[in-house]
């Protein structure tokens, strides 16, 4: 058993008795009660469990909780609040980028990382960035539209 100290959404958590085999996804959900991170396939295919670890998107089912010791994590709960959505979240609402919402936390966290790392000047780039996230209901058009719009807003802000 190990101790894990992490900062999640700017709050510090010191958790003891963590089994080495506990996945980061289960740690966030079961030990910290942050159930916004969804667990889909548990083998790195669907992208639903994506979170930011030290600023980079990571599949939390492919990382052990003990490996997260000392890191700063952002989950979907850390993006915005129901009263005040962040830019990307507001564009998902604007463009109907979700239906059942299961894939949405992963789409948002991936989108946040994409917006930071790539120019996203074309839909091809957006689709390439989203290629590791599966959605089973809305299809991808509206998700692409939401990210396209968030990227355009970012460009406007920079100009």
């Amino acid at each position: 058993m190990s101790d894990v100290s992490v900062t999640v959404n700017e709050a510090r958590y010191d958790v003891s008795d963590v089994e080495p085999r506990m996945l980061l996804s289960d740690f966030l959900r079961d030990r910290l009660g942050l159930t916004g991170t969804h667990v889909g396939c548990e083998h790195g295919v669907c992208g639903a469990c994506t979170v930011l670890v030290n600023g980079d998107s990571v599949r939390s089912c492919l990382m052990l909780a003990v490996q997260a010791d000392g890191t700063a994590i952002v989950t979907v709960e850390g993006l915005g609040s129901p009263e005040e959505l962040n830019v990307l979240q507001s564009q998902f609402r604007e463009h109907h980028g979700l239906q059942c919402g299961f894939c949405t936390p992963g789409m948002l966290m991936t989108g946040e990382d994409m917006l930071r790392k790539y120019p996203l000047a074309t839909d091809d780039q957006i689709r390439e960035g989203l290629s590791g996230n599966l959605c089973r209901c809305t299809g991808y058009q509206n998700i692409v539209a939401a990210i396209r719009s968030a990227a355009a807003m970012r460009r406007e802000k920079e100009e």
Binding site: R21, H43, R59, L62, M63, L64, G132
Partner: protein, 289 residues
């Protein structure tokens, strides 16, 4: 699913990691990026007694210019290679291939040492190692040795490492070429390749002076096609060359049928990609001249 129980070690040095592996009596596994190992653990397809996590070891993540070659530390993440200006200027084929390596979140975690040790025959990094004739440095209980990429990949998902050896560095010799291309077809962007080819050439006035070719997805290991390189260099630089090159490449491989595609289809893809790749490489070399 969830992994079966294991012990976890996070050594601070390569030597301590090797000691932990030796102490596990062959039941331990090295954890680098974990992007292939964690799925295997989650499915309980592997049940190591101890995971030896390399991520706490300082000094294994770097991209270094050594004149005629680029040295890359084993813990260097895929995203570092993807975004490295040094890789872009000195190892352009690698730079172009990196965005095809899995997906964004996986590139953020996956490491070059882990990717090579996993030895997937349809993965870009093993293919790039074969393409560049990389030298893979490994450390074990009996010291240090350097393995040529050609010998490193033994079979699908099988490398030639001894049980307690760890990959520590990979050196990629720089090619003095002026045109290159990387082509790949996968079912979904970022998935494992159904077929892929990397080509690099140095163009002379009437013939190619040198060529380098590697393919993947069409055999149990990535392949550097030395015979095809010699045949390509012997060809006249005329309009027919992409077509003839495609025949040369396809004649070198005999892909098997599997779940994802028939061998015939993989061969067909490789032929088409060969034409595209050579056209791109030649056009680029012409512009450089």
């Amino acid at each position: 699913m969830k992994p079966a129980s294991f012990d976890y070690a996070s050594p601070a040095t390569v030597e301590a990691a090797i000691e932990a592996l030796v102490a596990s009596n062959g039941e331990g596994k090295v954890l680098a990026g974990g992007q292939s190992l964690l799925p295997l653990l989650n499915f309980r397809m592997t049940r190591p007694s101890v995971l030896v996590d390399l991520n706490g070891i300082e000094g294994l993540s770097y991209i270094e210019d050594r004149g005629d070659r680029i040295a890359i530390g084993a813990l260097t993440r895929h995203r570092d290679l993807e975004h490295s200006p040094l890789v872009a200027s000195r190892l352009p084929v690698m730079s172009a291939a990196m965005r095809h390596v899995a997906h964004l979140a996986i590139r953020n975690r996956g490491t070059i040492g882990g990717g090579l040790a996993h030895a997937d025959p349809a993965a870009e990094l093993p293919m790039l190692a074969a393409f560049y004739d990389a030298r893979i440095s490994v450390q074990g209980p009996n010291g240090h040795r350097v393995i040529a990429a050609q010998e490193f990949f033994v079979d699908a998902l099988t490398n030639c490492l001894e049980p307690h050896e760890i990959v520590v560095e990979i050196e990629f010799p720089i090619l003095d070429h002026d045109g290159w291309a990387f082509e790949e077809v996968a079912r979904r962007f970022g998935d494992f390749a159904l077929a892929s080819i990397a080509v690099s050439v140095r163009r002379g006035p009437s013939r190619l002076e040198d060529a380098r070719i590697a393919v993947m997805g069409v055999a149990d290991t990535p392949l550097r096609l030395k015979a095809a390189e010699a045949e390509l260099v012997a060809l006249a630089l005329d309009d027919e060359i992409p077509e003839r090159f495609s025949e040369i490449v396809v004649a070198q491989v005999s892909p098997n049928d599997d779940l994802h595609a028939s061998g015939e289809y993989r061969g067909h893809l490789l032929g088409e990609l060969s034409k595209r790749a050579l056209r791109t490489a030649l056009a680029q070399a012409e512009r450089a001249a």
